[in-house]
Symmetry: C2
Subunit: 679 residues, 2 copies
């Protein structure tokens, strides 16, 4: 269903009930661009830390506009054994609510726009009929402004933008407008004596309207209702209506109500996100980090500076997320799915050993045909993302004893994938862990190299030719990470560079330390909405909390206990078992929650077990410390069916092993997670 | 005529011949926004210097996109005594030429977009079918890249983006792609033995294509032509064609030619601007400073830092400009036209004493109906701008002896308005003088005040309550200019503030001095095209000059001598006679042209004469110094008919005098130019 400004109000109820009845939701966003800074490969450096990646995306991607939001609701019909879906395709545009509301600017990237154009994207639907929206701060601001204006009008001061020191007395009318104002007075005097009820003055400038308001307010304090009316073509004129005191009040009351309704309309699309958030349903997306960031940024609040704060806000807005790209890149799917782009994934999960789920489009909704690609329409992308999730989840069910053909979104089988968002192109950190600390791979084999900007990759190969195979991750024109295959050569490389003049080599640890020192020097200054209409980083957790229920102290929503399959969990070799973690002596301290005092020990470190879910079942209790690997979900599962028994997986497993070793070097100290190349 | 990417190539000839045959051209642009920084009132401070205004517009307006360009050509048909017009409406979009060409970003301002949407603007025409363009630097860059690629291909290295240190040997194929590459080799080997001529490989990733190129180049160095083909849906696949040596060469030649043509297509809309520029015709616009800046910025070169350099570039691109807003705001029109917005001006010049010109739309062109407003379509706006110019010019003809009903664009009567662009909302500098130094009004009565950001206008009124009438021009949250009505009170105000803690008062002279010192401290660092696709200020006059004939030493194009009316010029009291100028002792030195050595003595200072044209008739000769008011155009004209004799003007003249005096204060030292309020 296409939803624009035209049918949004009529559709909102349908949307909300679809969300309420759904088993899970799939979402997708289309943006006006990806990066306003470095090119994508610099934006997504292979050795970014999660903090760096978040900071880069926040800095270089948030000024683009999320202008199409796809939502597809999936409800499983037990009787029919099929999913009933309701796909929505929302066109979103920050139409300014009035002339005092923020005039948002956003960036368009011509390649992105051109790409969408080539896919048949309808820009007129966005720009002419996009649904407006307000984030929480804006909504509060506008409601306050409206309140203020009402109070001022009650005091007879006219519209607030026109208040000047002289407004309490008779208006000071500049010479050149005197004729004009006198003509208006004449007309109004005529209105008061003739039988007409309404007088429409001719369109005029804002300054002239100010003079009219002030003059009429002064000269005719009773018996008139004066209002500015805007035509479809944005011309403004003043309407003067002859009223008795009662009607004047009634009209003012009507005007207030109209204003309130307009304000609700202005909150617009944000109400859909509020409904999704409130439902607490599992929200599925494909490579969804940017979608989540944009959604929060546009419809909730400016993104916080700090990654940890972002995780907290995210968990309040979307308490359960699942990223199908991360799922497809994780065992057991990792071995089976060579290309995890949405289009390719969708094709692959149609083939054995996967099964396409039975799906029926609810009545009154547009029925998508996956044979006829409509990729890059957000509603369609959300739809096939949901299909991919179902196929992969059901595939997991085939390993249960007894096997299950249908795995629900609430099943324990899919829980390990909750709240882990795929990190594009980071070599050794596959996901952002929303419910706890992120993986901290050892990067002892990595060097940070600075050099003249004329250098190319081949110069780096040349420089390190003595050290065997290297891997280069460019940072900018004059710096890159160089990963050696042997950690013990790192110090040799650093030493040999000591007297070099044109380049400089540091260990990764030195680099990180320098970064942290720079950061401490700079400090962090909170910013707020600029007068210029750009959304400035401004993280007001308190005010935001009041409106959408986010609260530092009550950060985690409890997730309802998993239904079904409790007896069928199986440990999975997840492919990330060789990670180096911060050592148990505590180089990384547990961050204590400032209110409840319980440790945020959501642990992604696993050896052979499931990716553990981050939500401690008892928020008051203390989670196990990170070195404790024996969490209940991981090892206490029954019906252990090692993935190796699945023939499709088994055959490839051998290949995989080979792949993870560097061709010529000795055993690598860390194994590299394979990140597919397609965005 | 609507021109998009679809019909651009077929239309270009029509456009060029319309420009060539025209008597004058009118232009208009529509942008994706106005200001990405301060709100418009801060962007256009009433006391900006021309340098400041230029710097602000450059900084805060150039990242928007000029996406609709209106051109209307006007050719006078002597026999029919009417103008034949050809209106064009170009949709313009920076579609990236290829993946290595700059991926331009531009800003959209939601209020501007919403406004255009409300006027029925078709965004799909821009984003889906906009004509691409390149500026001079981009064109040069792309031609060089294309050349380089060709050389590399001749050396058998494949496409340049894929060059790696190992590309000279057999491709290193990673384990996971070996199957894929082996399948490709199998298919190609089959092609070489079977009867097929062409092999279309399946779409694959860029990395896979790189491997294919390298492998095929290594394994099958002869007998094959390999090419990447892109589908409409942007999928790329490789086509392998079996060829003998001769056909291979022919195909490569074809490919080169195709590339050249594609490159010419990529220059796209810039060719229209080149044609306009080359024609040297008078180009008329309404409030055209932003149009001119955007046009040069998008289609010629990034705007220079320095205003003087901008003037020089502008005079090369558009040797003759006329701004109808400036014309309408100047004597004798100033007295007759109360609202100089395009829509209002168009209405007013339809009424007496003006006459609507006879106009006929050329065959095959869309005929606009001015009764049915289509305002804010660039082609229509250009059209009515041209009409306004004709009506005003012809009105000037009525004062000649004998009166003339038709005044040509080459007439001396309109020359005083050449190359002076309206400056929005500057109180005392009505125009930017493109052909010489700008007016330098005395601002002795102006104070620069800084204060806490809580202050409002009323606080300033309060603060200066002892000084009579004041005028406040806000700079930002914490500073404003305050103009006093009496210059002798300036020092008193400064003195009284000496011990103030919350605010600070400086004279205008002190403020300007401080600004200059700040600027000197900072210096000026030239920037260039960022890798990130934002156009950086980068002014390479030399390279630019080579391509479009701009040359510092040959800055001014000579304007062909005015035709007709030479005997009928009349001096005009221009309303700006009371300006204070830099004194004759030389506080402002004449800037000498670095080559010819003649002074840039284009003088806007007039007492009762015409606004003088800036072009010295003899570029080798020395123009009169600024204190010489007796220029030939100004005072040596024959048939002097003072404007005061026109009754319509006369009646208002008295009013005007009154208006120019501050209501209560003594004689002002400078008279304020009345700038209309409508943008």
């Amino acid at each position: 269903m296409e939803v624009t400004r035209q049918n949004f109000k009529d559709t909102l109820k349908t949307v909300c009930s679809a969300v309420e009845e759904a088993d899970f939701l799939a979402i997708d966003g289309e943006f006006s661009g990806i990066s306003d800074g470095p090119n994508v490969s610099a934006l997504t450096n292979g050795l970014d830390t999660p903090e760096q990646r978040y900071a880069k995306l926040k800095k270089h991607s948030m000024d683009f506009l999320l202008f199409q939001f796809g939502l597809c609701t999936f409800k499983y019909d037990q009787e029919k054994s099929k999913y009933i879906i309701k796909p929505f395709n929302f066109y979103v545009f920050p139409k300014p609510f009035n002339r005092t509301s923020p005039d948002l600017k956003f960036i368009c990237q011509s390649s992105s726009i051109d790409f969408l154009a080539s896919q048949g994207f309808d820009f007129n639907k966005v720009f002419c009929n996009g649904i407006p929206y307000l984030n929480q701060d804006e909504e509060v601001q506008l409601r306050e402004q409206s309140e203020e204006r009402r109070n001022q009008q009650a005091n007879g001061v006219g519209t607030p933008s026109f208040i000047s020191p002289s407004s309490k007395g008779p208006a000071h009318v500049p010479e050149e407008h005197k004729d004009f104002i006198n003509r208006v007075i004449g007309k109004v005097e005529a209105l008061l004596t003739n039988s007409e009820k309404t007088l429409d003055l001719e369109p005029c400038t804002g300054f002239q309207r100010k003079l009219i308001y002030q003059t009429l307010n002064w000269k005719f304090s009773k018996g008139l209702h004066v209002e500015t009316v805007e035509t479809e073509k944005k011309e403004r004129y003043i309407q003067v209506i002859k009223v008795d005191d009662e009607e004047r009040k009634r009209r003012e009351q009507q005007k207030r109500e109209r204003e309130q309704e307009e304000l609700n309309d202005a909150v617009g699309f944000s109400r859909v996100i509020h409904a999704i958030s409130k439902s607490g349903k599992l929200v599925v997306g494909h490579n969804m980090l940017l979608d989540v960031m944009h959604t929060i940024h546009q419809f909730y609040c400016p993104l916080p500076e700090d990654l940890q704060d972002f995780k907290e806000v995210t968990m309040c807005v979307f308490p359960r997320l699942l990223d199908t790209k991360l799922m497809a890149s994780t065992q057991p799917f990792k071995e089976m799915i060579t290309n995890t782009s949405l289009a390719e994934l969708e094709k692959q999960v149609k083939e054995a050993p996967f099964k396409s789920p039975q799906v029926e489009t609810a009545e009154g909704f547009h029925s998508y045909d996956t044979a006829q690609e409509q990729l890059h329409e957000a509603g369609y992308d959300a739809y096939i993302t949901g299909l991919c999730f179902i196929s992969m989840a059901n595939y997991l069910g085939s390993f249960l004893t007894p096997p299950k053909a249908y795995i629900s979104a609430h099943s324990k089988v899919v829980e390990p994938f909750f709240n882990k968002l795929f990190l594009m192109r980071i070599i050794d950190i596959p996901y952002l862990n929303l419910t706890g600390p992120d993986l901290q791979p050892k990067r002892d084999h990595v060097l940070f190299v600075t050099f003249p900007k004329e250098w190319k990759t081949s110069d780096l190969y040349q420089l390190f030719s003595a050290f065997g195979n290297i891997q280069v991750s460019w940072l900018d024109d004059t710096s890159a990470f160089v990963s050696l295959s042997q950690t013990d050569q790192v110090q040799i490389a650093v030493n040999t560079s000591r007297y070099a003049e044109s380049y400089r080599i540091q260990t990764y640890a030195e680099y990180i330390k320098g970064k942290q020192q720079d950061k401490e020097k700079l400090g962090q200054t909170p910013k707020s909405w600029g007068e210029d209409g750009w959304l400035k980083p401004h993280y007001t957790s308190a005010s935001t909390a009041a409106t959408f229920g986010y609260h530092k102290g009550l950060r985690k929503r409890s997730i309802s206990p998993a239904e079904g399959e409790q007896g069928g969990d199986a440990p999975i070799t997840d492919g990330w078992s060789q990670y180096s973690f911060p050592d148990a002596t505590g180089s990384k301290k547990m961050k204590l929650d400032d209110k409840s005092g319980h440790a945020e020990a959501i642990e992604s470190k696993t050896s052979e077990g499931w990716l553990k879910t981050g939500d401690a079942p008892d928020p008051a209790g203390s989670s196990p410390p990170p070195e404790d690997e024996g969490s209940p979900e991981g090892n206490d599962a029954e019906g252990t069916v090692p993935w190796q028994q699945a023939p499709a997986v088994h055959g490839r497993k051998g290949q995989k092993k080979k792949k993870q070793q560097k061709p010529k070097g000795p055993e690598p100290t860390t194994s590299l997670f394979e990140v597919p190349e397609v965005w």
